[in-house]
Symmetry: C2
Subunit: 482 residues, 2 copies
C-alpha cells in the first residue's frame, strides 16, 4: 500500500517537474539559452535600465530582465523566445534619447542593451564600414578620419550615443544640412524581426533599386520593427579644410534673409547654427567665450572643402553679409573656431544653470517661415510666463525650443507642458514637423496623428504589423493607441 502511495506521489512529483520545465518562466528560458551573464535580473540593473535621458516624467516600468546579447545569434535566440512567450522587447543603445524611445513601459518586458556588440570593420577601398549596433558614433568617426574618410552625422550626443540608437532615431546634427542625416549613410542592415526571422537588406553599394527600400525604412523606426544586429554604412572623402564664421544680428528678421542669401550664393555651408539673445546670455553666464551680449541673434557658419575652396567661400559669404550691414567675424585659427563651437555645444549645460527643468523640443519650420515663427514662439512663452531659449540648425529649419522651469514647481512644470502643445501646433500650422531629430518615442505620441493624419497612421500601423504582428518590439512607442 505504502509502495503504491509512494509511486503515486513520485509520479505527481515527476509530473510537476515536467510541467515546471514545460511552463518555465520566459526569463528562465532566456537564461537557459543565453547564459546567466547575458541575462541580468538584479533589481539594481533592472532599475538602472528603466531610464533614458528624457528630461520630463514619462510612463515607465521596471523590466523583468536586462539582456546583453553578444552576437546576431544571441539576438535571434532571444527574439525567438520572446516571440513565443509574448515578452515585450525594449531595445536600447546608449539611452541618450530625449523622447523616451529606450524606456521600458511594461514590467513583463525585457530591455535589450547592445553595449557588448561594438565591433566594426572598415573597408577603405569601398569606403564602407560594417558596424554592430553598440559602436559609439564618435569612436567610429575618429577611426575613419585617420583613413581619409568621413562619417558626417553629428547628433549632440555623438560622443556617447551608439550607431544603433542613431539608426533607430535617424539622428541628425549640424552637419546634416550639407551632408544629410543618418539615413543617407545606411546602405544595408541585418535585423531580427518577428519570430526571430533574420532580415537582410541592402548591400555595400551606394546605388541599389532592387525592390522596396527596407533599409532606409528601418532607419528612424525607433525600434518598433525589429532589432538591428549590424549595419553597413557609407563613408565619404574627408574634407581637407574647415573654417568658421560668426555673424551678429541686431534684428531677428535679418536672419532668414541672410540664410537665403548664403544658400543661393553657390556656397554650401556644412553648418548654419542659430542662437537667440537668451541663448547667448546663457552661454556667457556659464562658460564665457566673449560673445557680444547686446545682439538679438547670431549665426555660426561652418564651411568645409578644399583649402582654396574654403577661403573663396568664406570670402563670398563675408562680402555678402557685410553688404547687408551685418557684422561678420572669422575665426582666425582652429582654436578660435573650436571655442565658438564649444559655445554652441555647451548650450545644454548652460541652460541647466538657468533653471532645474527643461523641455527641449526640436520642431522644424520651412526656412522661409522662421522670421515669422520665432516671434510667435516668444508669444507662447509670454502667455505661459516661461523662460524660452531658442537655438538650432537654422539652415534646415530645425529649432531647439527650450522651455525652462523650476522642477520643484509642479504648477510651472504643467504650464511648460501646456506650452509645448502650442509649440507643436505652431510648427504644424507652418507645414513643419513636431520632430526633426529626437523622434516621437513616448513624449510626442499624441501629436503624431496631428501631423500625419488618419491615412498616414493607418499605413504606419499596417506596416508595423508586417514586421511585428504581436506588437512586441518597443510597444507603446510612436503610436498613442495600441
Amino acid at each position: 500500500m505504502f509502495y503504491i502511495i509512494a509511486r503515486f506521489y513520485s509520479f505527481i512529483y515527476i509530473y510537476k517537474i515536467m510541467l515546471g520545465l514545460l511552463k518555465k518562466k520566459p526569463i528562465d528560458k532566456l537564461v537557459e539559452v543565453l547564459g546567466k551573464n547575458k541575462v541580468i535580473t538584479s533589481i539594481v540593473e533592472r532599475k538602472l535600465y528603466s531610464y533614458d535621458a528624457t528630461p520630463i516624467p514619462v510612463e515607465r516600468a521596471v523590466p523583468s530582465a536586462v539582456i546583453f546579447p553578444e552576437s546576431q545569434e544571441d539576438v535571434q535566440k532571444l527574439v525567438e523566445i520572446c516571440y513565443q512567450e509574448e515578452v515585450p522587447i525594449f531595445p536600447r543603445g546608449a539611452g541618450s534619447g530625449l523622447t523616451g524611445g529606450a524606456v521600458p513601459t511594461l514590467e513583463k518586458g525585457v530591455v535589450v542593451s547592445f553595449e557588448k556588440m561594438k565591433k566594426f570593420s572598415v573597408d577603405v577601398d569601398n569606403a564602407t564600414v560594417v558596424v554592430e549596433p553598440g559602436v559609439i558614433t564618435y569612436e567610429l568617426q575618429q577611426y575613419v578620419e585617420k583613413l581619409g574618410l568621413f562619417y558626417p552625422p553629428d547628433p549632440s550626443s555623438f560622443k556617447y550615443s551608439t550607431i544603433g540608437g542613431n539608426i533607430a532615431e535617424n539622428a541628425g546634427g549640424p552637419r546634416c544640412l550639407k551632408y544629410g542625416v543618418t539615413r543617407e549613410y545606411v546602405l544595408g542592415l541585418t535585423a531580427v524581426i518577428k519570430e526571430g526571422k533574420v532580415l537582410k537588406t541592402g548591400n555595400p553599394v551606394i546605388k541599389d533599386v532592387a525592390g522596396y527600400d527596407i533599409t532606409k525604412f528601418f532607419v528612424g523606426s525607433e525600434g518598433t520593427l525589429g532589432l538591428i544586429t549590424s549595419a553597413t554604412l557609407k563613408l565619404i572623402p574627408k574634407p581637407k579644410a574647415r573654417a568658421t564664421a560668426l555673424v551678429l544680428f541686431e534684428r531677428l528678421e535679418d536672419v532668414g534673409k541672410a540664410v537665403t542669401k548664403i544658400m543661393t550664393s553657390g556656397v554650401f555651408p556644412s553648418a548654419l547654427e542659430f542662437m537667440d539673445a537668451d541663448a547667448i546670455r546663457a552661454v556667457e553666464a556659464h562658460k564665457p567665450v566673449g560673445l557680444p551680449k547686446d545682439v538679438s541673434a547670431l549665426l555660426l557658419i561652418e564651411i568645409d572643402g578644399s583649402v582654396e575652396g574654403v577661403k573663396e567661400d568664406l570670402n563670398t559669404v563675408e562680402k555678402l553679409l557685410t553688404s547687408m550691414g551685418l557684422r561678420v567675424q572669422i575665426a582666425q585659427d582652429e582654436a578660435q573656431a573650436e571655442k565658438l563651437w564649444m559655445a554652441r555645444k555647451n548650450l545644454g549645460p548652460a541652460l541647466a544653470n538657468l533653471r532645474t527643468g527643461k523641455i527641449n523640443e526640436d520642431i522644424v519650420f520651412p526656412r522661409i517661415y522662421l522670421s515669422e515663427a520665432i516671434p510667435k514662439l516668444r508669444e507662447i512663452a509670454k502667455k505661459y510666463d516661461l523662460l524660452m531659449v531658442i537655438f538650432g540648425h537654422i539652415g534646415d529649419g530645425n529649432l531647439h525650443v527650450n522651455l525652462l522651469y523650476d522642477k520643484k514647481n509642479r504648477e510651472e512644470e504643467e504650464r511648460a507642458e501646456r506650452a509645448v502643445d502650442e509649440v507643436f501646433e505652431l510648427a504644424l500650422r507652418y507645414n513643419g514637423s513636431i520632430t526633426g531629430e529626437h523622434g516621437v518615442g513616448l513624449t510626442k505620441r499624441k501629436f503624431l496623428r496631428w501631423q500625419l493624419g488618419d491615412v498616414g497612421i493607418e499605413v504606419m500601423k499596417g506596416i508595423k504589423m508586417v514586421f511585428d504582428p504581436k506588437n512586441l518590439f518597443n510597444p507603446g512607442k510612436l503610436f498613442s493607441e495600441n
Copy 2:
C-alpha cells in the same frame, strides 16, 4: 389587356436601363466621371501606350483605356472607380524606363499617363519646389539653376523623363556619386492609394523624424503602392564651377586603385565615369571626339564647387594619378569638357550602330571588386560568344553591361538572355545588386528573390498589401509570383 402588357414591358425596359446604369462598364464610368477628353479608348492610343523603352520583348497587353488626369481630384476619382471595379492601374511617366515598369500587362487594365500634370512652383527662400509628376526633369533643372539652385539627379533620360517616373524608379545618374539619388531629394509626397485614399507624407523641410519615413519608402516603389500626384523636392546651392579630367589606362587593374586613391584624397568628385576599350571604339566609330583607341579603359572625372576649390582639387587628382604613371588630360574649357561628356552620353546610340539588339544591364558591384569582376564579365561574353561593352558610374560601382546581338538572330538573342542570368549571378556573388538605376519592373522579377531572400520578399509583399490589398497598382511588376 394590351395596356397591362405594355405596362409590363415598359417596366422591364426601365428595369433594364437601371440595371445597365448599375452595371455600367468600368471604362464608361471613368468617362462619365472624368470626361471624354481624359479617358481615351481609341485603339491607336491604347496600342501606343502599351510600350515603354525596354529593349527586350516583355509580356504586354493593350489596355482598355489611357487616362490623362489633370489634377489630384482626377486621380482620386479614377482610383476610386478602379478600386471598386477591380481595374488594374498602370501608371506612366515618359515611358523611358528600361525594365518594363510602365508596360500594361492586363487587357482589362488602364494606363494612367501624367503628361498633363506638369505644373511646378519653386520656393527660392526655402530651397524647395513642389512638382506635379509630369514635369520633365531637365526643364525643372534648367529653371532652378537660373535661381542659383540645383537639382542634381541626372539619369541619361533626363531630357525627356519625368519627375514622377524618376521618383517611381529612384533614378540615379553620374552625379549621384556625390549628390545622392532621387530619393535624397524627395521631402514629401501626395499619393492616392487603395480606395482612392489620399496619403500625404513629409513636409517642405529637410529634417523630419515624425513616424516611419513613408516618403522615402514610396521612392523606388515602381508604381506598385499608389499614384503620386505631387512631390516636394529639396534643392541645394548650385556649384559655381565645374571641371573635367580624362584619365587613360593601359591596364584595367589600375582603374580600381585610381578610384580608391581619388576617393581618399579629400576630393569628392561629382562624377567618376568609366568606359572600357570597346566602349571607346564604339564612340570613336559613331561620333569621334579624339579618344585614344589604344587604351584598355578610361575614366572621366568631374569636379565641382567653388572656382579656387575646383582648381585645387583638379591639381590634387592630377598629381595623384600621374604619380601612378597614368596619363591625365584636363579639359581646357567648357567646350572641351562638353565634348568629352557627349562621348559618354552618346554611348547608347553608338552601341546601336554596332548591333541591332542590346541588353543594357545596370548591375552594381562593391567598388573593391570591380577589377576582379570586369574580367569575369568578359568571360561570360566569351562563353556565350557575344559582344559586350562595359561603361558606367564606377565611383558607385554601378556598371552598365551591354550585351549586343543581332535582333533578327533569335538564337543569338536567346544566348544574350542566358548570359544576362550569369551577369546577375556574378553581381550577387560579389555582394552587389541586380539593379542600380533601372529598377526591377518586368525584366528582373525572377532575380529579385535571389537578391532579397525569402524574408525580404515576404516583408515586401506584406507592405504592398497595406497600400494595395487588391493588387491593382502596377500588378505583375517587381514580384514574379502574384
